[in-house]
Assembly symmetry: D2
Homo-oligomer: 457 residues x 4
């Protein structure tokens, strides 16, 4: 029996391939499915079952394409009218060699959410592990805010799923959740990808709330963001998304071709590092550093127009293509041939953004220098700690609240480490803000004794 | 915090790299250490600690070379006079970012055996996992037969380590042992590489023997083989083995060069499949199919003479080099240029071995055909099930008991699946047995209803 | 300016990617086109032109699929009614940065054959190289036997193309032909892949025949084989073959699944080495060792039924898939899961073929032992040298002449090195010949002083 | 017979592996020799001979280490007292299967320079190709300025070698030189890597100078730069350089570790793109973008202190290690862990360089804005075209002429495309010039109609 965990960076999505000899199951496959085929071949097994723990909202599920190629059957919760696959019942079991998988309905995050309990037939009737989907994470539990007006009901359902279904499986049971630290599907997850029911019972803060009402109240107080692209994911994952195939040729675009395409609506996504973007970028482009791409593209980029990439290299651009397809951005026209260097030697104009050191921010604040320090982190982060005199607008709200900002003023974008700040700076530049700067290092640099910090808590 | 398990095929050896941010520890590194460096680089971390759970006897430890390259410190149990590294005390702790590792003395398999308990500082004082070395496996416990005359003492020590030290850590604790199924370090291991203390407490047959005396008696009844190469491993792993570096050029040898080298003592190791060996092989060569190499080379090949390889391809030969170096066979002169095909077109003589179908064996037995069906499996396997009229000699004893066999008689070697049978056939051929055949499929084919099977149990 | 030669093993097909900065052309692309995309990306260029030197008969051309992905235009000779691409005129030129490509009509091998002359605009008006298609090879010239009844005309056309069009380009011009040694498109090619017009003028035997009539007579005397699959290639390459995409999942088949599929017509192709096939094979399967696959599959395997592979490994099987698709065999159902070993342990019957040493053949001949030594090489090879008393049937004629052989007699297949001999042995086995053996090493072993050899020349 | 050309980027160094069956020769191996071993294994051949066309001055030769691993013999010209290898005589031949290599003394670039003529024994007595070392390039000939005071003699020797030895080999002979376009070993090379003696005779400008005296005068007028690191190369390549092995662990350095090491003399080499460096860099570091590393490191970095790298990624840093070792920089302590982002979040200070658009330079010049436009290209480039009012200092002279510049003035560095300009900017920053900017795109952007350009020719 083998079990492989596949981590999708950025989304912090975890999927699993579990199998024995010639049969295997995939739990929550991502859209670029080659990795499951590769592991299956390496293990000399055939993928026969695909399980979806729930209708995912943060990425495109790869079930349909994987089933088409392998002949596997797809299974999911029966409470949603999926256009593909088969519904499962509570207690339904599946045998794959010595593996037994048993369905446990664990609603709360969504109504059709299931967990899948794993037994090793060779070792008797005790469960050895459980795939918990978005019900139980390591260090946190799933969010329950997706059904406006029903938040109390879903929080209660999740309490019941956790305390009456998952915990009773036993302390010795290993848990395999659908997300790890960094996901927007929960905010308190451990950056450790292994745990057990017993360890969670002892250490997971939410599982200390053993009173149902306390648990519900805590859930209701949570604040989560919901990027607009989630709607597209929900639609795709109910009806079955289009296949992407593995054949894709990312075309090189000359500076002239790229400029021309922009006039027909092409959106330039610059995936280089914040430093490289600050050094020189194509006017009008979005800064979305590669590691930020999965989480922030869906806030700013439209599905209605094609994308063009600016990257350090072809390999980096191809990685971006993978990340973008995971969240349904399929119309990628190409990447800038020979990169930003080619653009500069073509004689076309470029822009830069001044990067400011945290220590200089502190000096400015101390000296009363007039500028807007624009903190674009979440409200929770901001309340916990921020610099005195800073302005707060969550990055997801930046475009709709942009009129609150003054174009004449120097605006220095600020976030946790400088990554989100460069995205915000590029958005402001696009909206005609010329005096935009960004603070590399941001709060993490400040926190090294470089700046004085305030808290609203 | 990340944890990577590295499986070394054939030896079924499991090592681990656990780290947090810029610090990481390796538990029981194998000799070809590049994989630890690669993972460390991928994770952007530095290997700062190396732990040996015990002085290993079945492979060459890579600690010294890994420490030389990374600057890491080596730690092991204090009961053996290691020529390198530092001894650890019971309860001693090591911090690597949010990781705490704590030493737990767990003697039994050897006297200096330790386990290493893992805590996540961010989640409090409960252990989350334990590296159990050769004390506790998944489905089995370590062997305790390495100290002749002290078997009772070591079995008792192991009982104490298991029941009084490891089990009390708690049912919720994940276990990470040093071996998986297929290792000669235990015979009942699960072919599943994940478990917890609680799951083992419930399902591991040896942990059901909660009475100390019963446990000891069961251990004393076990029969394990000890290949002669273990002595070399023990010597290496006490004094620190020679470094192998990563630079190695496996030279192609022409048929003439290979023939010439044989006259100076070179041992030909043929790592091709049993089918290819049976089809044609160089007279005098050993059949050791690649997957059999780690476990069976040490029974037949001498450290005193160089090796020459016959392989399907250069890549396969290089894999064999890695496997051979893991068990200390460093003097590999080259591989047969262009393989067996080159040998045959060179005009040199070759031999073959007739492969017999299990169904034909049954026919022979039924019809009273005169031949020796030589079963070379372990005594346990043989007693459990065998074909009527078969002769049993354990493969490890074959060379010393070879005079019991009759060169005039047809001898058909037989094992579990045909893999060990081809090794045995090649050994007999080397000893001048010309009427040797082998049964592909062997007991596994027989068990599909093809033959009548007996048992001595 | 860069020029990359892409060699397709087995077919000995040479294609080229030539480019400068952002534009590139491919000459005679093979069907698996990823390599052209990869090189183009590595060079940071875009494939804008595709040239076919002629309608190929020995492999499926990849032009249409490559054009679909890249947007490139396809060009070929105007004498055939291609269903895709554009015709070119004599003297027509194409500019790609500093590259100029100029069309030179060079009929003879086929009527629409062209060569493409390469100029470097930065260095003036002299040609630097020429892509000669199947007109001029290194050490040979193209065959002219494809149009029955018109052999004299085509040979004369080729003479004119060579002596009046290609040679006059100048001794200093490098030649890039469409095939290298090992191809069935010519028999005297050098195993050296670089030459010039001047070097060929001085050393190519066919270019010493400067009298038109002598040249034609020499061409008319040549004997070439034409495997039946050529018809399919000609049809595909006129109309445009189906795209294959890069997404392909080769499914593992259990022994039961494979057996079952055979009953519906599946053809088992065993691509393992001759030695492995001889050791054990599935009754009814074809031996087609991987390197033999491109040249010999088309003689024996039908396009009308699916294929199943027996391989050493998944990687080897995937390579076979590539080779098979290059010659239009697209319906590949899967490969034997875990290989021949899995088959043997499943309890199913298998067969073997006895491999005979060349020295033993000599002994048999000397001693008057009764057997058929079946030499299946080409007539030219046989006439040049063969063993006394051997029977000659060309491997391509084996099935239609099979009734000339005696099933009661021991038949030992024999060829140049043993590769084709195992194919022939497997074909005989399929036709119910049970006393079939094969001679590994065959003529090459014999020629090392092991056997007495005769010649009919 | 196969011939593989191995191109070392940056140095534009070309080496070759030529072989037949089991024997092969390497011509001018670079220091990182794994690629020769890999090709040899892929071809199933053994490297038996190593030739050095001359004692190289621009990179470290890999002969000694390659010979140690393979057992090959090394050969070079007899006019220098090499501490390793064997001298060769005029006309000496070497046979490797069907290959014949024949020594042709071709002094001029250096006194011991040889060419190696290639014959194919199967095709008679005409040469097919020649390895010309630094005597004849494609589009240029070797420089002859390495022996001060003897320039006339060496130029004359080169004339004799070219016109009396190489050209007489025949127009049909393919040439394989030791360098391609971009090398400092010649300035007029074609960016095409294939040619023949005949094509060069017709098109190479230097070969049009058929009068000995004219040729010598033209050579004497050439201006070449000689970076200081050449001395180290000459010393290494006479005595045999230290082996590097293939085992190397590039350690991650935290910002604190890197800062600390700088105080002991460590030189920070930032290999990121010019844009990333301009965006943010560690004060005191050298900008040496990866592709510039081979040619410009030797001008600025000392062999006496260790290096630390700042890179986009570990992979990029490892590539830099390879490039640096090729020119003898072996003492590389590590690379900045998690890159520049980690530095900024550590709270340490960083700097930036303003990037200026060529169009804005033009505006400044037109409007009489006061600044120094510092053109750091070669004198030849500057004379050919430059912007009006610009100051010229060759980048190799920048440090010794730095006092000619005014620290109070805005200095904008300017080169061909912006690559060398960022290097110069970083050097100025190190010397305390705070008002330094750089012009991305530089002359290439200007030449697109963006700026008015002057010429001194």
């Amino acid at each position: 029996m083998f079990l492989e965990k596949i981590t999708s960076q950025g989304l912090s999505h975890l999927s699993y391939l579990i199998g024995h000899q010639s049969m295997a199951a995939v739990i929550d496959p991502r859209r670029d499915i080659q990795i499951y085929l590769d592991i299956a071949h390496e293990k000399g097994t055939k993928i026969t079952h695909i399980f979806e723990t729930h209708r995912n909202e943060d990425y495109v599920i790869g079930s349909v394409e994987l089933a088409d190629i392998t002949g596997a059957q797809i299974f999911h919760g029966e409470e949603l009218p999926f256009a593909y696959g088969k519904p499962v019942r509570e207690g339904q079991t599946f045998e794959l060699g010595s593996i037994i998988l048993k369905i446990l309905k664990t609603p709360g995050h969504t109504f059709e959410s299931i967990s899948i309990v794993l037994y090793d037939k060779d070792f008797g009737l005790e469960p050895v592990a459980v795939f918990t989907g978005d019900a139980l994470f390591i260090g946190d539990v799933g969010r329950t805010d997706f059904f406006p007006g029903q938040e109390k009901e879903t929080a209660g359902l999740l309490y019941d799923s956790l305390f009456n279904k998952i915990l009773p499986l036993g302390d010795h049971v290993i848990i395999y959740p659908a997300h790890g630290a960094g996901s927007v599907c929960g905010s308190g997850m451990a950056d450790r990808e292994f745990s057990t029911i017993g360890y969670e019972r002892l250490t997971n803060p939410m599982l200390q709330l053993t009173q149902r009402e306390n648990f519900i109240q805590a859930k209701l107080k949570e604040k989560h963001s919901k990027p607009p692209y989630f709607l597209k994911m929900e639609e795709y994952n109910l009806s079955g998304p289009p296949a992407i195939g593995s054949s894709f040729s990312l075309l090189p675009l000359t500076p002239d071709e790229l400029s021309h395409a922009v006039q027909s609506g092409l959106q330039i996504v610059d995936i280089r590092s914040p430093e490289a973007f600050a050094g020189a970028f194509i006017p009008g482009s979005f800064s979305l550093p590669l590691t930020m791409l999965p989480l922030y593209t869906g806030w700013f980029i439209s599905y209605d127009y094609p994308l063009g990439l600016v990257a350090e290299s072809y390999e980096q651009a191809m990685l971006a293509v993978t990340y973008l397809k995971r969240i349904g951005f399929d119309d990628i026209q190409g990447y800038l041939y020979e990169g930003m260097h080619e653009w500069t030697i073509s004689g076309k104009d470029f822009a830069g953004i001044k990067a400011v050191y945290a220590g200089d921010i502190q000096t400015r604040i101390s000296s009363g220098f007039s500028f807007t320090l624009l903190d674009i982190r979440t409200e929770e982060e901001y309340q916990k700690e921020h610099l005195p005199g800073s302005t707060h607008i969550f990055i997801g709200d930046l475009e709709k609240r942009i009129n609150e900002l003054d174009k004449q003023q120097i605006i220095t974008t600020f976030c946790g480490s400088g990554m989100r700040a460069i995205i915000a700076a590029s958005v402001l530049k696009r909206h005609g803000f010329n005096n935009v700067e960004t603070c590399f290092g941001s709060m993490r640099a400040c926190a090294r004794g470089v700046c004085e910090i305030e808290s609203s808590l």
